[in-house]
Amino acid sequence: MRKNRFKIILIFAAIALALYYLYPTYQSATYQNKLTELSGQAKLEDYLQSHPLPPMPDSSKQVYLDSLTQAFSADSIKYYDNNANSIVDARLKRIKLGLDLQGGMHIVLQVNVVKMLEDMAKNKDQTFEQIMQQVAAQAKQTDTSPLELIRQQFDQRGIRLSRYYGDIRDDNNKVMAYLTDQTKTAVDRAMEIVRNRVDQYGVSEPSIQKQGSTRFIVELPGVSNETEVRELLQGTALLEFKLLKPTDVVIKVFQAIDNLLAGKSDTLASKSDTASSDTTMTPEQFARKHPFFAIVRVNSQNGDAYVAENDRDRLERILKREDVQRVIPTDFQFLFSAKPQVVAQGEKFYALYVVKKDPELTGGVVTDAQAQIDPTTNSPIVTMKMSSEGSREWARITGANIGKRIAIVLDNAVYSAPVVRSKITGGSSQIEGMANVEEANLLAIVLRAGALPAPVDIVEERNVGPSLGEDSIRNGVTSGAIGLALIILFMAFYYRTGGFAADFAVLLNIFFILGVLAAFHGTLTLPGIAGMILTFAVAVDANVLIYERIREELTTGKTLRAAIDQGYSKAFTAIFDANIISLFTGAILYQFGTGPVQGFALTLMIGIVASLFSAIVITRVIFDIMVERGATHINFG
């Protein structure tokens, strides 16, 4: 027992860790079931079983069904609200299913840099157009960046880049640095815009990742409307300038909503009932008395409103309610800040802006925007230039609203809401109040982003419908279960006691693989399941090698203990060499594959390590303990 103590501790630690990492997955599934059970859809179906649809024209049928669904959804929404933090937490930590299993869209977007560089050039002539044509053709063939290709073309012809870009006195390196920077900005800008739109679109757990220098991958689980998504990703961004509603009016509306939610009949707020005076109440009491102010925190000094990230959905649902809509003036619009602010405890808050619905001015008028450092105050500013037509409008708007705030809104997210200091004529404005240069840069990007900086092409699009995903899960689980059963039965039958030990190890192995997958935030794909099934066979192989060896040693007349010792040590080199090579191959596959194939490579690699552990350590400990307890014979079949 003593010499195995370390190994036993190791095994239990591994099991405990696997449990720890798998618990959120279990928890998340439980929540999901509960929510489905409570959901309007499920109850609606029940209801329709006993209450057939009354006769009505087709056109009103959907409206009727929708209103029923909404009525039935109250329970699930309440359940969600009560457990929001823990549900979100479990979802984040659970094993994610790949798009091939849960359905959704995988899109690879590529910023057309060649087109952008073409647009950026000045003094374009025939030579330039020839060069660009060749570059466009070459770019399709190689991995070399379009910029590098352009430079090569220029060098071949002995032309300086400054003939078309930058200042005429600049040398090639300086122009290249400038263009490289511009390209990077363009890609970042496109990504920022797409991210913003995806956030607005309301997909749960979208992922946006950069791939190489000009591409990015957008993954949208559970989405299948490709036309809509395509428009969302490629359409023109909408930049608007909207006037903020005065704080006192806004607070009154907030109070009206609060009263309505708390069930008070009078919509007029009494002075003594404001949010700030209720300091002695517990949070629960406060939430009951002021349901709206529990979600929307209002800064009593300046009237700014904030909403915690977790409460955003809830607030949006409240604002959509018909009775709430009735107390909100029709020209009011509620918008959130594009980026949350992180407070000390790590909680994230979005600023809530209440603006006039009709924009004062829209996008296209901005001709340029740059982030700069104000030389006198040393703080970051953004300078914005407008077209002559825009400038006239802008002068009128700013002149009429001095002292008020104007929100800069891109695709319905507020990026900044500066105060108008004075009437701005001449079309050049200065925006202050950014916390740092990055924030200023982002705002400049947004202002320039009336349209995507360069055309964005969809180069790859994969869309898996939900029904195929369900089929795939069922197929994967069925074949996994049958395969596993076959192996377990065979091993127990062929190697008897040894087989049982191996079976036990294989079952633990599944546990370990899933645990590691959860710990690394891995994604389970259908090829990944295939990889796991294959791992069962690999896991068994190590045990087969060992047991065959033990059998051989036993036939030469060795004692049980000696045979086990020899069996494990002699089989080890073969097991080690064989599996190292499989690991190499898995790593290479992971490097070169995409999506589902990477999922396969990942489970395969985890599987190899886990099965080595279970085959070499776990079964060994079992036999050692048996021998120590006095067994003189273990049945290896």
């Binding site: 259908l526 060499d577 995409t594």
Partner: protein, 328 residues
Amino acid sequence: MRFFPRTNIDFIGKRHIWYTVSASLILLGLITMAIRGLNYGIDFVGGTELTLEFNPVVHIGQVRSALDKIGHGDAEIKTFGAANQLLIRVKASEQGANTSDQIMSQLKSTFPSTQIQLLQENKIGPQIGQELRRDAVMAIFYSLIAILIYVSLRFQFIYAVGAVIALFHDVLITLGAVAIFGWLLPWLNLEINQTMVAAFLTLVAYSMNDTVVIFDRIRENSKIYKGENMIRVMNRSINDTLSRTIITSGTAFAVLLVLLIFGGEVTRGFAFAMLIGVITGTYSSIYVASAIVVDYNVYVKKVDLRLTAAQSPVLEIEKRYEAAAKRA
């Protein structure tokens, strides 16, 4: 329980017969590939591919004529799994930004009373297809290099060469099988896509695994029987590991067969390639990897490995027990 009592099979002696068998199989596959070509999936050629479910089932001919009207008459249309599931594929050169939308709306208007559900859609630009193809080739190339280096470090260089030739053999035979079965049994939907490449890399790993186990035993036995005839040692080693070889490949085969039958359309190509791979990977460890090491010694190093009349082609097992007893 023991399926394989101690065997004394002369594997290596028969190697020249099996060389012919391997060569003919590879040739057959190559000829099929030359004539019929390989069926590349959308990952590698690019294009638009839609998998649709029709309720009730519609006839492929009707779908084709509907697509013909919008200029996609030469689209590839085939059933995918069930009879009411169709896969429609348009080549990259003919796809536009909205090809899939056009096809969907055309089908919906042609079959107004049929419920059409989108199961899957893939749209791959030609450039991406090219890159994925290059990545796949690179992945296989790098893994072969990694194997060559590792095996030369752990064994001798000629063993690494034998192992890598065996891998080429396995890949070629499996490719050939994919071509032949893809042609004879079109409903298997065998095509070269990313998952298939994953299958090829996995079968490379599997075959290597099997080869290393035998090489490891040869290494061990060569130490025990220093100066013994190499053919006899190899035969002994292959016989020693035969039981394990058959059990492991048997379980892998069974599991893959389950996957082929129950795994559904998406993993079918993978399971098929791996099934063939398990067979050829097991076989090539003996008749390619080990056999090449022997023939290198015979023909290049001119070692005389002919057996005397008194020697059996397989080293008698009792010798080892004597050796073991002596050491003890």
